[in-house]
Symmetry: C2
Subunit: 376 residues, 2 copies
């Protein structure tokens, strides 16, 4: 834990649970992306953390923004950013939302099928589009389903169709899976992208842009390579598959930008056993799946947790949240190691929680308010 | 769909997505519980739907309330209900919340271990407590984990300990699992409860109450027996295990009270395929796991969905929500049958959605506001 978090907690003693966000870490992460991928434009994935303070900082640093909805677009415009800094990156959009976005000046849209192309052509004539292609998420903590994207054969047709409808056909996007620990994961996707570029070139359509997506990991969640290593691996793959004609590139980091900037202060509410002979403790915190830690579903994201007794012996526990809901259990299949001396009332600090916590929290489920946050 | 829903939708044409709540159905459900279990006090599980209009109605009908947190307690007190109508039924409570509740006049608390008994004894001296015992959830759509409760041997000790600390030891509670389709499921739990009563009687402590929990199903989700059948089965089991000394009983229905009273209006945003040869359609709605349909996790709760084209041939689809999140898929392992003629822009009506939707919705994830609702 850095000194700024420590000082804030000591001086302010905020009510538990709450999230602290250190904007200096967001700034360092942005600068690190910009340096590691110097020819790549950063579109911050707003969904990871839409706090106005985060958006304002990234706007000042020169970032662009990947938005999932009109709600996110309005948040970004409120920073003062122009619509040219916004990509409406959701492949699933209501036609009336595309129209509203276009009226606000936004003219970059994601698609993955003919039907979405038609919507854009009808209400946002002449806009730029990119087509998302499927790629598997091997190496990722959170491989994506097939929900977004189409295969590369279909992508060629979708882009050609968009071209015939008068849209500006920019290129392709993909996503290698969240919390991607393998910098080489982009290589396979770039090979697919290059094949789409070649096939369309044969049909007389020149693509010029690749959206490399997100997937950049939070460093504190696992030992992962640094951003420079990712940048080198991606540039090397671009060289391999595109030779001297490297296209424009953009990235959409979310977790990689903000996860490490967050620290959740929580409290041990109860420690108990289920039978008299039970060797396993249940530890209940005042935050759980419905309060901001929804990413523990399937137990794939394992947050580092600090307690005031970490120099004591540790033993496995089932870690659970405070709600009257049986699914509100954080770690059970793979138990979590916590000090045997842990006490009810102890403060615990959950690290790397700046991404997918505030907005993953429920809307007052069990009468518990959404996660409070403080910017330091 | 009843005529009142239809008329509201026709006349008001509310923006999609939204939830309609029919208070007449809540009233009928309450009356049905009261008639089917005539000697049992109803404690509505507020977490299922805390809309003030629902709470006000149930207060007027004479219901008591099972609350999970101080937030829910404040909502119930706002109806005008006295603290004697409230059970603080969460086994995981901060000591300062027990103290606040006690100061407000609440003196009925759930426990499942010595540590929780100690908290209650320290800050709510002389209160009534009941101990939750574990029972398996066979027959339930949503079997509960071991998160709440302890085994019956430990429950005896916990209750005896509470007695020695000066608390009023009321009895035991259990939960047979949510959306429980087997009215006989209460029998095994009541046998366990009876053994706890007997053992404590031998130690000179007379228990007097059984909290039969929730688990009563929403009728529209499956073909399930009616509430009268549940009432008869439970009364028969009480006779079997308690003979002529049947204890006081309470129930905590949540889903069974409000699920059928809710109807979500949603819209088809996109229909697509992933490859040119794909036979399976993906259908994307403007509501998903983060907008209120979180109970589709593990696909255990399958909502009935109506479309304007239900007289057409149907075919399997993957059904997904609108967010840029790959886990926001409602039904994929077991595909959902929808009309082959379904179109982008079609209105769909999702039935039996009055429980665990409004508050299971996220706090603006992807920039999407929490689910709007209308009481009719």
């Amino acid at each position: 834990m850095n000194d700024r978090f420590k000082k804030f907690l000591d001086v302010q003693q905020p009510e538990s649970p709450c999230l602290l966000l250190d904007l200096d870490i967001v700034r360092l992460n942005y600068e690190s992306f910009a340096e590691s991928l110097p020819d790549t434009q950063v579109f911050y994935a707003v969904k990871a953390n839409p706090a106005p303070e985060v958006l304002n900082l990234l706007y000042e640093l020169g970032s662009s923004f990947d938005c999932a909805s009109m709600g996110e677009i309005e948040l970004v415009l409120a920073t003062g950013a122009g619509p040219d800094r916004i990509s409406f990156g959701n492949t699933i959009k209501k036609k009336r939302d595309i129209e509203r976005a276009f009226q606000l000046g936004i003219c970059l849209f994601a698609v993955d099928c003919d039907a979405e192309v038609e919507k854009v052509a009808q209400v946002a004539a002449g806009s730029k589009i990119f087509c998302r292609v499927l790629c598997d998420g091997t190496g990722s903590s959170w491989p994506l389903s097939n929900k977004f994207g189409c295969d590369s054969v279909m992508a060629v047709d979708v882009l050609e169709y968009a071209h015939t409808l008068g849209l500006q056909v920019e290129g392709v996007s993909f996503h290698v899976g969240s919390q991607q620990a393998d910098p080489g994961a982009w290589d396979h996707a770039l090979a697919i992208a290059a094949s789409v570029f070649r096939t369309l070139a044969q049909r007389g359509i020149q693509l010029k842009m690749i959206n490399l997506g997100g997937g950049f990991p939070a460093c504190r969640l696992h030992h992962v390579p640094d951003k420079e290593t990712y940048g080198r691996a991606i540039f090397s793959s671009l060289r391999t598959h595109f030779g001297n004609c490297i296209p424009e590139t953009i990235i959409e980091p979310g977790r990689g930008m903000v996860a490490d900037a967050g620290l959740i202060k929580a409290e041990v509410v109860l420690i108990s056993k289920k039978t008299k002979l039970d060797t396993r403790r249940w530890v209940y915190l005042d935050i759980g799946k419905f309060g901001g830690l929804a990413e523990t579903m399937s137990e794939s994201i394992r947050y580092p947790i600090r307690t005031p007794r970490d120099n004591c012996e540790k033993a496995p526990v089932v870690l659970a949240g405070p709600t009257c809901d049986s699914v509100d259990v954080l770690y059970e299949k793979t138990p979590f190691m916590l000090p045997v001396s842990l006490q009810i009332g102890d403060e615990v600090l959950i690290e790397a929680t700046g991404a997918y916590t505030m907005t993953y929290a429920s809307n007052h489920f069990n009468g518990i308010p959404p996660l409070a946050y403080f910017v330091i």
